[in-house]
Every structure is written in structure tokens, then in C-alpha cells.
């Protein structure tokens, strides 16, 4: 059986942060019902990116919302709202990522929902928490990366602040809300009590930086200084970084400079005998190393470094990665199919359970695709009648 069989999640969230949590819960066996605005649905349905569209719909929406059901409702319509409240009586989890106050105005705040369903786990993601001067600002990934100091950690010292090119604040917040929901469900299984679980993208992106922030808190609040050459991590000594070779790139993680000097045939590095200098003089060391590594191919360096157990790797793009047996053996690609026969390939859940992959071939729902079945299951007969389409 699946880990989360019999768990029903009513998911009001849009875009990525909340829906990525819904996806993880769905893949582990929960039944996830997206509550979407009548007419347009999750705004992400319309988010066309990079001009890549699958039969008129955003690839991203399909990736995030596969394996879910869709219930279309107008939360400002009294009849629809009553139906939603009825459905919530049969739910285990409510999830939303509206700005603070929106659910309360709809009479769907935690206190109201708890009255309908005392054992519900009510989970919400905000941008900046529910208090403070930023609470009403939009919780958007790039903006969170920018205010949280994160943009000063990647790329070289003389570069502009550089955002991470994946929506890391959304994804961390979704990851944390999943953890909170599951912990609360575990406790509920013991005590029968529900809980309120709150996550903000700002707290999540600060937690993501916990190692380096703790360093900053305790070193007299010195700001991180990125390496001027091939920066890999502002706080890690040479050779840590990615180096150009004669035909590509080579990643070098932590390593002993003297050992590297010998293995790579680079006598200039011998002068850095004192390990403390590998941090304090890392730019000098990395400059020498960068020049030297350009003189050979990636394969030639790997042939010397790998047998000596030096932490190194090639640098691959997607096309190169997918030719690798190390990628193919993971079976990470998941074909899915929607009810109107749209087929596409996406990635599967990264968690393996009892040695098995979690593979659901169910694609994302059409807007309101499951209104009827959900009404039949969750609403009393008189409400089903009112629920006419």
C-alpha cells in the first residue's frame, strides 16, 4: 500500500510553492483535490514559458499538477462556498498559499475551518509571514532570493548579484510545508488533534542558508565574499569550483592543493604548503589552477584525478546527462497521460519506498474535471443538486 493512502488534501494553492507540496503528497499516495477558480483555474495554467507549449497548455502546469484532481468553484459565490465547506468536512488536509487575510475574508481561515472539521491539518504558505511590514507583498521567488541575501552567494566576486536559476524559494517552502503537514498528520494519528502549519518563503529561504547565516551571525556580521575566480562557495577554500579545460569544464570539490599539484603536474602550486592559505589565498591558487587546467582535456584530468580519489566530476548539460548510463539507470523519466489523451514526459517522485519507484501515470486534470465525482462523494444529495454545472 502507499504511504499516504486514505489521506484527502484540499489544495487551494496556485503557482509552484503549494502545488509542489500537493504533488509530493499525491505521489506518496494522498488524494489531492485542487480547488480552482471557475473559468480560469490555477494561474499557472496560463503561464506559458520559453514559448514551449504542449497543445496549448504550459508544460510547467502539467509537471506540477499531475496526479491530482480538479474541482472548480467560485469562492465568492455563496453556493460554491457552502459546497467547499461541506467537502472540507471530509478532508484531512487543507493547503493554501494566498496572501495573509484572503482565506479569513472568505470565512475559510483556520478558526472557521476548525469548527467544521476539528481534526483538520490546515497548512499555509505566505511570502513573508503574517506580520511585519512585508506581509502583504507578493511572495515571488526572485524577489525572495533578492531580499534574503541569497543573490550574493553564487557567481564570481565581480559579478552582479546572481539569482539561482531554479525557483528555490518556492520549492523550499513547498518542501517545508510537506514536512509540517506530515508531522502534524503523524501526531493526529496518535491524538486525533488537528494543527495549523505555517510556512513563509522568507523563513524557508533563510533556513536554506542556515550554515552560512550562522557563520555570519557569529563572525561579527561580516558579509560573504565570493571568490574572484570560478566561485563555487563563498566560504570554501581552493580548489572548490568549476574550471574550463581544453574541451569543456571540470568540477573540483575540496582537495589538498599539494596533492593536486603533484597529480596535475602543476609545480607552481607547491608554494602553497600551508593549508590555511588555501582559503586566504584561494584566488591566487585558483588563477594558477585555471590556467593550468586549460592545457588538457577534461578526460585527461579525470584519468589522473579519479584513480587518486580526488573529488572531481565532468560538467554536463541536459543533452549530455541523458546519454549517461548513470542517469538512465535511475529511471527518472515518467510518462503521463491526461484524460483528454495529452501525453508527455516529466520526472517522477525522487523518494523510493520499500525498494520501489513511485510511478503514477496520471496527468494533470482539466479544470473542474472532477466536480461531479467529488460532489457525489462529499456532498449530501440536496447539495449535489445545487452543484449543477
Amino acid at each position: 500500500m502507499n504511504l499516504l493512502d486514505d489521506i484527502v488534501v484540499i489544495d487551494f494553492s496556485q503557482f509552484l510553492s503549494g502545488p509542489s507540496a500537493g504533488l509530493r503528497l499525491a505521489d506518496m499516495g494522498a488524494r489531492v483535490i485542487k480547488v480552482e477558480r471557475r473559468g480560469s483555474g490555477d494561474i499557472c495554467r496560463e503561464l506559458y514559458v520559453s514559448d514551449v507549449v504542449v497543445e496549448g497548455e504550459s508544460t510547467i502546469f502539467h509537471a506540477i499538477n499531475r496526479n491530482k484532481e480538479s474541482y472548480a468553484a467560485d469562492l465568492k459565490d455563496t453556493c460554491d462556498l457552502e459546497n467547499i465547506k461541506e467537502i472540507l468536512k471530509g478532508a484531512d488536509v487543507l493547503l493554501h498559499n494566498f496572501r495573509p487575510g484572503v482565506m479569513e475574508r472568505l470565512s475559510l481561515g483556520y478558526e472557521s475551518v476548525k469548527k467544521l472539521n476539528p481534526s483538520i491539518v490546515y497548512a499555509e504558505i505566505s511570502g513573508y509571514g503574517t506580520e511585519g511590514p512585508w506581509k502583504d507583498l507578493p511572495g515571488q521567488d526572485l524577489l525572495l532570493q533578492s531580499v534574503s541575501g541569497l543573490a550574493w552567494l553564487s557567481n564570481d566576486k565581480n559579478s552582479h548579484p546572481t539569482p539561482m536559476g531554479v525557483a528555490v524559494a518556492d520549492i523550499m517552502a513547498g518542501t517545508h510545508v510537506t514536512q509540517g503537514i506530515l508531522a502534524a498528520l503523524y501526531q493526529r494519528a496518535l491524538t486525533g488533534e488537528g494543527a495549523l502549519v505555517q510556512i513563509s518563503m522568507l523563513e524557508s529561504i533563510l533556513d536554506f542558508q542556515f550554515e552560512v547565516l550562522t557563520c555570519f551571525y557569529n563572525d561579527g556580521n561580516e558579509l560573504p565574499v565570493r571568490s574572484s575566480v570560478n566561485n563555487g562557495h563563498a566560504y570554501i577554500a581552493a580548489p572548490y569550483g568549476i574550471y574550463q579545460t581544453a574541451d569543456g569544464f571540470l568540477a573540483l570539490a575540496m582537495g589538498n592543493i599539494i596533492v593536486l599539484s603533484g597529480l596535475l603536474g602543476c609545480p607552481e602550486l607547491k608554494q602553497f604548503a600551508e593549508p590555511k592559505e588555501w582559503f586566504s589565498r584561494r584566488d591566487e591558487i585558483k588563477t594558477i589552477l585555471a590556467l593550468h587546467l586549460k592545457t588538457g582535456t577534461t578526460e585527461s584530468w579525470l584519468a589522473v584525478l579519479e584513480p587518486a580519489d580526488i573529488w572531481c566530476a565532468r560538467v554536463l548539460n541536459y543533452e549530455e546527462l541523458m546519454k549517461e548510463e548513470g542517469y538512465r539507470v535511475l529511471n527518472m523519466e515518467l510518462p503521463v497521460k491526461t484524460s483528454n489523451s495529452l501525453e508527455m514526459i516529466t520526472t517522477r517522485c525522487p523518494i523510493r519506498v520499500d525498494g520501489k519507484l513511485l510511478l503514477s501515470s496520471r496527468g494533470a486534470p482539466l479544470l473542474g474535471e472532477h466536480n461531479e465525482t467529488i460532489a457525489t462523494e462529499f456532498l449530501k444529495p440536496e447539495e449535489v443538486l445545487k452543484n449543477g454545472k
Binding site: 533578492s146 546572481t162 539569482p163 496518535l190 547565516l213 565532468r314
Partner: protein
């Protein structure tokens, strides 16, 4: 908080460095009792791994950051007597985590099959670098190497930059977070069905999952993501998405229709572009914007753009953030005492029933709780 959700659960952490221990930290903050099983000589290798040469006691500040709120039991897994104690601990445990390379736990007889015989309801959770099959399985599972192999380093920085790694150990942190998800879901099933579970994650699968939007788009288009030449923010997103220099600092602008942006900025050059061109001609558009925004201060642009409800924020460093009322309102910091010294670190980011989860319990000394835990086990036998 009076009653934490995972109170009463026992976790044995055989993990080292960051990936597994970050999972242990989250479980501890949610209420579990987490016991680190460490080698008598040296312990978790992270104890000796310092950044900026910062030490809390014999162990680095980094170790203290990741391992607060835990206990330590010293055991040599190659010593028969120690191994017998470990097996007793496994009998009493709810969860075991480890992040050894494939085969290591098998060699000492503590793999899932053997542990399951000792405790059929055990949740056994492991992190590898690349999974347990295939040509990469024995490679070192180190964060930068995983970023490099997984395509991630081609998502950040501008087109002309070399591959740019994320400046945080993203693979470690995600695999730790996924492990927690798997463990908690398995505990829920155990509560209903009384069965244990094997939960496996790998750094590589966690990083591929992290890129699921980009990968799904790639599977469909077979076009490698292209970073924009100017102010790259996300390879899939149109202009203006990115960070721009102003007269005095930097500003971030997220998704906004070009016409709305042109009107708000009063930038006529932007009006030459239609919304359909916002992706295909993003470099031209972003170039114009970069030249325009650098003429005024960040505050000038912020007040103008926020007036039009455009998604924009200043780019702050930690000093600026730390002094901001919005940061102070979070109360994200907490203090620990180590060796008479106060250390400041972050708290758990999850709030439960409106309460923040603080814990002032510092990381353990190596083997600090060995005797106490042995005594507890002996008491249980009587």
C-alpha cells in the same frame, strides 16, 4: 511549545556531514529524540570541518549548526561489543538514517534486511549520491559534483559566464528534506498498518526533482535551457525577469507585462516590443532596461514600480536584511550556549499552531550520551 508532533520518536542517525544530519535536525526540531551514532575516534567528520576557521569547542561551528538538539553515542561498528549495543538501540528505535556509500552498512550487518529482523516496524532511511546501481554508484556524493553532473550549473549566471554553481549545498539540503518527507509518510503508514519501511533518496534524484520544471520542458522541446545574456533570472522566463543595477545598488524585477512596465517606468524604448516578443527578444529588452534603470536609485524605482503593483524588491545583503523590521518580525534567530559561549543560529522554519519552534539544546560532545543511553537500555531489560 508544549507538545511537539514527533515527541516520543527515537531516531538513530548514522549520517555524517550535511545531507543526513540536516534531516536529523528537522526531525529533532519537530520533537523527535535524535541520537547520533559516531565513531569513537573523531566522530562525524563534520566536527573537523570548519568554515572561516570558526570553532565552537573541539568541533566546528558548522557541526554545531547542523547537529544541535541531538545526542551522541560513540560506537565502533567493527567492534562486536559496540555492535551489540547498536543492535539493542535499533530494537528500540523508530527510525534509522545513514548516508554511507552503498555496501558499507551491509558489511557491518546493519543493512535494512538485517535491521528489519531486529525491529520489523523500523523506518530505515538512507541517502546515497547516485542511487545503488549503475556506473556512478561508488562515486563520492559531494554537492558540487552533483550540481555539475545534473545540469544545474547551466541555470544560473549569464550566457557568457562559465557554468555557475549554486553557492549553497543544494543537493545535500534537498536530499535531506526529501528523506524527512519519506520518513514522516512512512511513520503515518506505520501508525495505521504497523509496518516498517525502507526509504531511499539520492542526491542525484533529488537534484533532478528540483529541476522538474526545466526537465519537463526539455523532454518536450529537446532544447537545452539558454541563460539570457543580460540579467539572467530563469532560463524559461521572459523579460524583464532578473536583477538590474541602479544608480546606487541593485533591484529585482519579476514577471510583469511589458506594456505595464513601460508605462510605470515611463520608458518609451520598451514600447517597441510586443508581449509576444518578451521571450524571444528578451536580451534586447533587458539591455534597454539595464541602461534605463541604472540612471536612478533603487528607492526611486521601488516607489514608482510598487505604486503600479509591479513585482519588485531591492537586492539586500545580510547586513541590510538583519536590520530590516521585516526580518526582525520573523524572530528567526535563536541562541545556544556551548562551552560558556553564546552561539546564534537559525530556528526551524516551520510554525505549528501559531508557535515558532525554538530549541536551545546545543550539539553534543562526541559520545556525550553513551553512558546515559546504555544505562537506559539496561533499565529497560530489567
Amino acid at each position: 511549545m508544549k507538545h511537539l508532533p514527533l515527541q516520543g520518536l527515537n531516531v538513530l542517525e548514522f549520517s555524517q556531514y550535511l545531507s543526513g544530519p540536516s534531516a536529523g535536525l528537522r526531525l529533532a526540531d519537530l520533537g523527535a529524540r535524535v541520537i547520533k551514532i559516531e565513531r569513537p575516534r573523531g566522530g562525524d567528520a563534520c566536527r573537523q570541518l570548519a568554515i572561516k576557521n570558526l570553532w565552537a569547542d573541539d568541533s566546528s561551528l558548522l557541526f554545531h549548526t547542523i547537529n544541535r538538539n541531538k545526542e551522541s553515542f560513540a560506537a565502533d561498528l567493527k567492534n562486536e561489543e559496540d555492535l551489540a549495543w547498536i543492535k539493542r538501540l535499533i530494537r528500540e528505535a523508530d527510525v534509522v538514517t545513514h548516508n554511507f556509500r552503498p555496501g558499507v552498512m551491509e558489511k557491518v550487518g546493519l543493512d535494512y534486511a538485517s535491521s528489519q529482523k531486529i525491529n520489523p516496524q523500523l523506518i530505515y532511511a538512507e541517502i546515497t549520491g547516485y542511487g545503488k546501481a549503475g556506473p556512478w554508484k561508488d562515486k563520492p556524493g559531494q554537492d558540487l559534483l552533483l550540481q555539475s553532473l545534473s545540469g544545474l550549473v547551466y541555470t544560473s549566471g549569464n550566457e557568457a559566464d562559465n557554468p555557475v554553481p549554486f553557492g549553497i549545498a543544494i543537493a545535500d539540503i534537498l536530499s535531506g528534506a526529501h528523506l524527512v518527507q519519506g520518513i514522516l509518510a512512512a511513520l503515518i503508514r506505520r501508525q495505521k498498518k504497523g509496518v516498517g519501511a525502507l526509504i531511499e533518496v539520492s542526491l542525484l534524484e533529488s537534484l533532478l526533482d528540483f529541476q522538474f520544471e526545466l526537465l519537463t520542458t526539455y523532454y518536450t522541446s529537446r532544447q537545452i535551457p539558454q541563460r539570457s545574456k543580460v540579467s539572467n533570472g530563469h532560463t524559461l522566463l521572459s523579460a524583464p525577469y532578473g536583477i538590474y543595477q541602479t544608480k546606487d545598488s541593485f533591484i529585482a524585477i519579476a514577471m510583469v507585462p511589458l506594456a505595464k512596465l513601460a508605462a510605470a517606468l515611463d520608458c518609451s524604448a520598451l514600447q517597441d516590443f510586443s508581449q509576444e516578443e518578451a521571450f524571444g527578444r528578451r536580451d534586447e529588452i533587458k539591455n534597454i532596461l539595464a541602461g534605463f534603470l541604472v540612471q536612478q536609485s533603487t528607492d526611486f524605482w521601488l516607489s514608482r514600480l510598487q505604486l503600479h503593483d509591479i513585482w519588485v524588491m531591492p537586492v539586500l545583503n545580510w547586513q541590510e536584511l538583519k536590520n530590516h523590521p521585516a526580518y526582525k518580525a520573523l524572530r528567526m534567530e535563536q541562541e545556544l550556549t556551548v562551552n560558556g559561549k553564546t552561539i546564534t543560529t537559525t530556528r526551524c522554519p516551520i510554525r505549528i499552531n501559531g508557535e515558532r519552534l525554538f530549541s536551545d539544546k546545543a550539539a553534543p560532545a562526541l559520545g556525550e550520551h553513551t553512558a546515559k543511553i546504555k544505562a537506559e537500555l539496561l533499565n529497560q531489560l530489567q
